[in-house]
Amino acid sequence: MFGLDKKDAKLLLIVAALVLFAPFLLNPFPTDSAMAQFNAGYPDLMQRFVIFGIFAIGFNILFGLTGYLSFGHAAFLGVGSYSAVWMFKLLSMNVVPAIILSVIVSGLFAVVIGYVSLRRSGIYFSILTLAFAQMSFALAYSVLTPITGGETGLQLALDDPRILGVAQTEGGNIPVPGIFGLEMRSTAELAIGPWEFVFNVGYYFSGILMLAAFYLAIRIFRSPFGMMLRAVKSNQQRMSYTGLNPKPYTLAAFVISGMYAGLAGGLMAAMDPLAGAERMFWTASGEVVLMTILGGVGTLIGPVLGAGAIKYMENIISKINSEILHGWFAFMPDGLEDLIVALIYPFIGKGWHLTLGIIFMLVVIFLPGGLVEGGQKIARLFGRKKAADDETPGKSTEPAE
């Protein structure tokens, strides 16, 4: 199906189902219950899940296949956002041209940065990409203020030309991004008993693009090109003595992953039409590295899982405060309650980074293959009996996904 073998097609369908039903799956708790704060099914967060999913899928094409660890991919995210906002300012509020421009501009940017950075490998490559990204950040923050809006970021204004659209709405407001008249922010709600589910246009638009990006990634992984990228990681010396030039392969992987980042950046601007330099800051580059490693480097689904896990923690765990904790442990005697709250407190709210750090360390030490490896281990635990019956030689040697 779709030119994929059975296993990959199944994976794609599972991911498609997850994207489609996410508004239900992420809101498992009734709106008024105490657990409702663990619900992640609101548009803003769901959009972030899929957008950062795209970012991580793209990053994994470079890092997972070729082994080149870029520490500057947020630069492409930022360039994508700026391009999209400029399209909103100059052309119209339609997201399609905005996103196309994001991908093209970040792709061109990636050609330049990749061409220079790929002259070195290993840690020197990482440092070069980091330097480029920080340079882009600094430029966007200061010298390039006319293009980037500097400190305040690039925002829409009432007097923007928008030659194919309207400069302002009839009510005198700035128009909002949409796709052929359908606004990205428009949302339908569905209440079933105490549950409430939200369906957002922007989320589904980003979700469909993530599925397309995921499908393309599967095709790349299974193609001769993908095999060459793994050869780059494995043994570049053998590669050149086999008549292959590793450089253009690596550069192509770099540019493709830069374009994925640009797509993610464009979508971020399409959901909320502003772009700031902080999107290019080195911590943003580090975040996508964490996502990919947490989920599983070089696996298809891993980066998506990693992006979801980190964005969930960032938005849900950080919202828990000490009052909520006291509410949970109110049934305990006062002294014990205070003690437990005091023990947990460093890990919640602003301390969510600590929780993330610990989880990240545990994953790297015990599950070097990331969450995907964890999932495989659990699946094997349950499927051991069955697997013993139909295990065929060679089956276990397929690359693990």
Binding site: S223, P224, A231, G243, N245, E398
Partner: protein, 251 residues
């Protein structure tokens, strides 16, 4: 006129004259061995042939074209494949994938962005890879992770990867170094078989005299970066200069 012509090649590393006026002619469809004691310049010479080193002076012509100044992948595309002293394979990949990469390189050239087609749909290349694996008795290992194989199997895989490209010239850098006697004999048999089956020129650098005298049609003896003699095996054994420079101390 040989398929490979090395003329007056000199190579210096600082104060060390690694190669001095090396002349070498490898005739088509022969097995040409290059022997010599440690430090004789054998590896330097080989590296000059495949583009890893550029000689200071002299010329290296392959098939009527100069290889000097070309990068290793361009020289491979001209028809020279190289087997390394320690097997160089794609350890993270399966045996079958290791075989597919040289086939893609031969068909599509040094670079092609074929990112959408699937490897599995390349039926004719898969067939070629399987035939080659069968020739080297490795077909049953085709799904194996190649890093997990024994050194002997890695060597055979590397040889198969080179041969599947149908090179005009196969360069072997001490193919039996560190091998047990039984494995060495297997390698000799494999090379003899390869030679019988196809038109191929083989240049081999080797320490093991047993291997050299079982395979070579011609032998060049290198000592201190300069060729001493180039002759047929039976004339080499008794040659006084060779005895002095090499066999005398080795045996």
């Amino acid at each position: 006129m040989g398929i490979l012509e090395v003329k007056d090649v000199n190579k210096r590393f600082g104060g060390l004259q690694a190669l001095g006026d090396v002349n070498l002619s490898v005739r088509e469809n022969t097995v040409h061995a290059i022997i010599g004691p440690n430090g004789a310049g054998k590896s330097t010479l080989l590296n000059c042939l495949v583009g890893k080193l550029i000689p200071d002076t002299g010329s290296v012509m392959f098939d009527g074209k100069s290889v000097l100044g070309r990068s290793p992948h361009e020289i491979n595309q001209m028809g020279i494949s190289r087997v390394f002293q320690t097997p160089e394979i794609f350890g993270d990949l399966t045996v079958m994938e290791n075989m597919m990469i040289p086939l893609f390189a031969r068909r599509d050239g040094a670079y092609r962005l074929h990112a959408i087609e699937s490897v599995q749909s390349e039926k004719s290349l898969i067939e070629q890879a399987e035939t080659m694996l069968e020739d080297v008795n490795m077909l049953d290992k085709r799904h194996m992770h190649s890093a997990s194989m024994s050194r002997g199997d890695k060597r055979r895989l590397e040889m198969a990867m080179c041969l599947v490209q149908n090179p005009k010239l196969l360069l072997l850098d001490e193919p039996t170094a560190g091998m047990a006697r039984a494995d060495t004999n297997n390698t000799i048999d494999l090379l003899k078989e390869i030679k019988e089956k196809r038109d191929i020129t083989i240049a081999i650098i080797e320490h093991d005299m047993h291997v050299v005298f079982s395979l070579a049609d011609r032998i060049t003896v290198l000592a201190q970066g300069t060729p001493l003699v180039e002759d047929e095996p039976q004339n080499i054994k008794g040659h006084p200069k060779v005895q002095e420079a090499y066999l005398g101390e080795a045996h």
